[in-house]
């Protein structure tokens, strides 16, 4: 039930956004993430954006893992 999926924000109008999800356009309520910007990725759950995804953090995690994978190899 706590499934939430990453979606990219295409347009924002007041407390609503149009997001792209697997090639489809969907509406998302943005009241819970007021700082949202076009181009951000959000987690979408039950029609609401519940959190903004952090690109820098994601990259940091992946870089760290890639380094570890190289050591393992």
């Amino acid at each position: 039930m706590c499934l939430a999926v990453p979606a990219r924000v295409l347009e924002i109008e007041r407390e609503k956004a149009v997001v792209e999800l697997g090639g489809l356009r969907r509406h998302a309520n943005t009241a819970l993430v007021p700082s949202l910007k076009v181009g951000d990725y959000v987690l979408l759950h039950a029609g609401f954006a519940i959190q903004v995804l952090d690109q820098a953090q994601a990259k940091e995690t992946l870089d760290l893992l890639a380094e570890m994978a190289q050591e393992e190899a």
Binding site: M1, N29, L32, G47, Q51, A58, L65
Partner: protein, 368 residues
């Protein structure tokens, strides 16, 4: 960055699995408490990558599974009123109550509608001014901000025929109850990533502090889950216990303050009954006093009659991590996804359903 495919990279997953397989410490039992983790772990075959010393248990992470029959009976009793439209999430429909499920009540003529978002229920109330629309809200902290928003919106827009029946629950008190029961030895928690996008990492801090057990907040892709397990093992090896965030792209220590504020305005914490775990203090959410005009339980005198449990069903033990599904006599014979008996088999996120669908039988025997 697509935020999905990168975290399914087989080379990263392979390297993590290799690292985990080198574990040479004492056996480690980690518990996850999120239905989405249960499904992800089984679907991606994570268990098969782990050495025998490292096992993952599923705890009470499926909201529809932990909803006791009495709550479902209340929803059905309401739905059977001719003046009521009951709206709820699809996951709830097939879960058996004491005498029937919402699906069966719908087949019997009750006006029950499945919604993807609680906002749809608000729209229904506006479109059906002569009916009372009751939203049956269930789910953990990921979901409660969305339903909280809708009740506050109903108040703001003066929608008088919208009502709310809450079976919402919060997860950290259930983790505490499990630890206090002493029934299962847990060496680490894989904490629910999406719940934590809302509540952050702080509500779990009592677990390392008071119980000495490490926690890792994990995402849902294979690399996320494997990294979380590796992080738990690292902490065990170093004799450290803290709350670490693996899912850092989505989870901040403070969570989502706007969502938390929305929940705090709409709901109050109450003691709640959990299937399998019994009563747990401050583990449920009911509408705040200021919103009591929207509370279905106050608006109607709902008396569904005494609830009863399903004979032979071991969902309660499965939810506590005491039984694996294959230790239930009904599993796979009397209880299958086609003909489910208990909620853990009905729900697609239930542990029994995930075992039945994804776990090869030789593995089940080895682990059982």
């Amino acid at each position: 960055m697509k935020f999905v495919s990168e975290f399914r990279d087989p080379s990263l997953a392979g390297a993590l699995a290799e690292r985990i397989r080198r574990w040479d410490g004492p056996p480690v039992k980690a518990m996850e408490v999120c239905g989405t983790h249960t499904v992800a772990i089984f679907r991606h075959g994570i268990a098969a990558l782990l050495p025998p010393e490292v096992t993952i248990l599923s705890g009470p992470g499926c909201p529809v599974c932990v909803t006791p029959n009495a709550e479902i009976d209340k929803a059905i009793a309401l739905a059977n009123r001719h003046d009521v439209v009951l709206a709820t999430f699809g996951d709830m429909m097939k879960v058996p109550g004491s005498y029937s499920s919402l699906s069966e009540a719908k087949a019997g003529g009750a006006d029950i509608r499945v919604v993807y978002s609680p906002q749809e229920a608000l729209g229904m109330a506006e479109g059906n001014p002569r009916k009372a629309v009751v939203f049956f809200g269930i789910g953990f902290e990921t979901t409660s901000p969305t339903t909280a928003f809708c009740v506050l919106e109903a108040e703001r827009r003066g929608i008088k025929n919208f009502f709310f029946l809450s079976a919402h629950k919060v997860i950290p008190p259930a983790m505490k109850a499990l630890l206090d029961s002493g029934e299962v030895n847990i060496d680490g928690f894989i904490c629910p990533g999406h719940v934590s996008t809302i509540i952050g990492s702080r509500p779990y801090e009592f677990i390392p502090r008071e119980y000495g057990i490490p926690c890792v907040i994990a995402g849902f892709e294979p690399v996320d889950i494997l990294q979380a397990i590796a992080m738990l093992l690292d902490m065990r090896a170093a004799g450290k216990a803290e709350v670490a965030i693996q899912y850092s792209r989505a989870v901040r220590p403070e969570g989502n303050p706007v969502a938390l504020e929305t929940v705090n305005r709409a709901f109050q914490e109450v003691d709640a009954e959990w299937r399998g775990l019994g009563g747990i203090p401050a583990s449920g959410l009911k509408l705040a006093k200021a919103l009591k005009g929207f509370d279905a339980e106050l608006h109607w005198d709902i008396r569904p009659g005494p609830s009863r449990e399903i004979e032979g069903c071991r969902c309660g033990e499965v939810l506590r991590g005491v039984y694996t599904p294959s230790e239930c006599l009904l599993f796979g014979s009397g209880c299958t996804p086609e003909h489910p008996v208990g909620p853990c088999m009905v729900s697609s996120e239930g542990t029994c359903s995930a075992w039945f669908l994804y776990r090869p039988s030789d593995q089940a025997d080895a682990a059982g």
